[in-house]
């Protein structure tokens, strides 16, 4: 305990973490005023209309982003999956080429998810200007990288024999996936994708702060104006969105069971 404090103290100093600041009289006053405005939330029709429009924009950004991400992730994930490799059986001819393609796919996914969506958004805002288009593409790129990697891991972690046996009787890769792997992995793939959609909703909020539109941009404005009522309304909307994602996930799992 003492040792931990000894090690942590200098680190906290470097990070300018000074708990005493929290209790400084002036800071307390500003914070208190801001937090005090949180209640009641701003429920005026005007603001709710704004918030609704921003919510739809955020949802659209997240959904379109995830849809594009899936388009990117499915082929790359399938290429990466060892149990769908025909050349590994035997091993047969073309194994070297197969490994090369897999390495290229792995590198692509690494680059895509290695760059945070916020950085992609900042880069793309330069290209597309302010607005949701940059956010959609940023989500598609980063989340495509994440989904592709996790898809192939989910496919690899289940029972891969059915797919291998189909390949051994002459089936193509894609059909070996549909007939051999999807029945066992479908539920998990769907719920992971929904979870990523939920993350994309949050990410699109953050990207709003850098000018990609949606709830984030609205919140940025409210924060700058220290309008606590508006901020708390937006926070309530966030919670509702996460609940919605949860319900959707449960519903899809039931549907696939």
């Amino acid at each position: 305990m003492l040792l931990a404090l000894l090690v942590l103290w200098p680190l906290m100093q470097i990070a300018e973490f000074r708990p005493s600041d929290l209790f400084d009289a002036r800071n307390l006053e500003v914070m208190g005023g801001f937090l005090g405005q949180f209640f009641p939330p701003n429920m005026s029709g005007d603001f709710l209309a704004y918030a609704l429009k921003a919510t739809i924009e955020t949802l659209a950004m997240a959904t379109a982003g995830i849809a594009l991400a899936m388009l990117l992730a499915l082929p790359l994930g399938l290429v990466l999956t060892h149990s769908l490799s025909v050349s590994r059986i035997g091993p047969g001819s073309g194994r070297g080429a197969g490994e090369a393609v897999r390495a290229a796919a792995r590198a692509t996914l690494l680059i895509l998810r290695g760059i945070p969506e916020l950085v992609w958004a900042l880069l793309l805002v330069r290209a597309f200007g302010l607005g949701p288009a940059a956010g959609v593409l940023a989500i598609a790129l980063t989340y495509g990288g994440m989904l592709g990697k996790v898809y192939s891991e989910i496919l690899e972690s289940g029972d891969t024999r059915p797919a291998r046996v189909l390949l051994e009787s002459g089936s193509g890769r894609l059909m070996a996936f549909f007939y051999g792997l999807l029945p066992g992995a479908g539920q998990e793939l769907a719920s992971y994708t929904i979870y990523r959609w939920e993350c994309a909703v949050r990410a699109s909020v953050i990207m709003g702060f850098v000018g990609a539109g949606g709830l984030g941009q609205l919140m940025d404005q409210s924060m700058k104006m220290l309008n606590g009522g508006e901020v708390s309304t937006i926070l309530i909307i966030f919670l509702l969105l996460v609940l919605l994602a949860d319900a959707l996930s449960v519903f899809l799992r039931k549907l696939l069971a």
Binding site: V86, P162, V165, L166, S169, G170, S171, G172, M175, G184
Partner: protein
């Protein structure tokens, strides 16, 4: 020539068994329409031999020819076509538990159907009568639309057999195809495999744990022990002493269908008919030994 193995050897190159020898200098060949049983103690290399014939593993020594070609010299497209003509019945049916029986059977034709037909069959089966017919041969037609996790082990094994029958392969391989079935169903299933091989004149190779099934049904019996070929004889010449030698390392009791002590002295051997298959299927009733 349906297949030809010339001094095949296999040393495992990866996995747990790395460096272990599974087969040594095995030479077997079969003409089209022959029906062979492979027997031997567990670990003798029966499954490995079948998988080499199925082109799913490549031997480290010797030469393979399957359906007239060396599979490991083919382009990937030609190899895929060859594989779609080889059917393999696995001991543990490789079927996802959530799949419906009809989908599992249809999967036998994935190598022959164009991809769009296979894809549409995921939504609505392109052929219902065909799978139903194959399941009916194995007394399972009523389970056509059930999910596979509702089936018992023996039923699932028969779904695996129906899939390969539906595939209509030119070389029919079976690895312990009836290990989870009771004697009556085992006889029904082995009988249907023989009927299929004879009616279409295709080659059947089955590894069997139960010596009595091998001797009763198959015109040619191959003994495998510790990766080496011990004998290749018609069943009438497989004497009890030959079998005792083959299973010497096991408990002393010869393995048979229902784990009863087995004596290799009964009539009703499979008849050695000419390759091409004009002989009758020996429809012996299930023997209680």
């Amino acid at each position: 020539m349906s297949f030809e193995l010339d001094r095949i050897g296999l040393i495992h190159s990866n996995g747990q068994a790395q460096g272990q020898r599974a087969l040594r200098a095995v030479s077997i060949s079969a003409a089209r329409g022959e029906r062979l049983a492979i027997i031997g103690p567990s670990g003798a290399g029966k499954t490995t031999l079948l998988r080499i014939l199925a082109t799913s593993i490549r031997p480290t020594e010797g030469r393979v020819s399957v359906l007239g070609t060396n599979p490991w010299q083919l382009s990937s497209r030609e190899l895929r076509r060859l594989r779609s003509g080889v059917g393999f019945i696995h001991q543990a049916p490789p079927i996802p538990p959530r799949q419906r029986v009809i989908t599992a059977v249809i999967a036998g034709r994935l190598g022959q159907w164009p991809w769009w037909k296979s894809a549409l069959s995921l939504i609505y089966p392109a052929d219902i009568a065909g799978p139903r017919e194959q399941l009916a041969r194995l007394d399972l037609a009523d389970r056509l639309f059930d999910r596979c996790d509702r089936l018992s082990g023996g039923q699932l094994q028969r779904v695996g057999v129906a899939r390969v029958l539906y595939q209509r392969p030119d070389l029919l391989l079976a690895d312990e195809p009836v290990s989870a079935m009771d004697p009556a169903l085992a006889d029904l299933t082995v009988g249907q495999l023989h009927a299929e091989a004879q009616s279409r004149g295709v080659t059947l190779v089955a590894s069997l744990h139960a010596v009595d099934i091998a001797l009763r049904w198959f015109p040619r019996v191959i003994g495998l022990k510790a990766g080496e070929l011990v004998f290749d004889l018609p069943p009438a010449k497989v004497s009890e002493s030959v079998l005792r030698d083959l299973y010497a390392s096991e408990t002393g009791v010869l393995p048979s269908q229902d784990n009863q002590p087995f004596h290799a002295s009964f009539e009703g051997y499979a008849t050695d008919d000419t390759p091409g298959g004009s002989g009758q299927v020996p429809l012996a009733p299930p023997r209680v030994i």
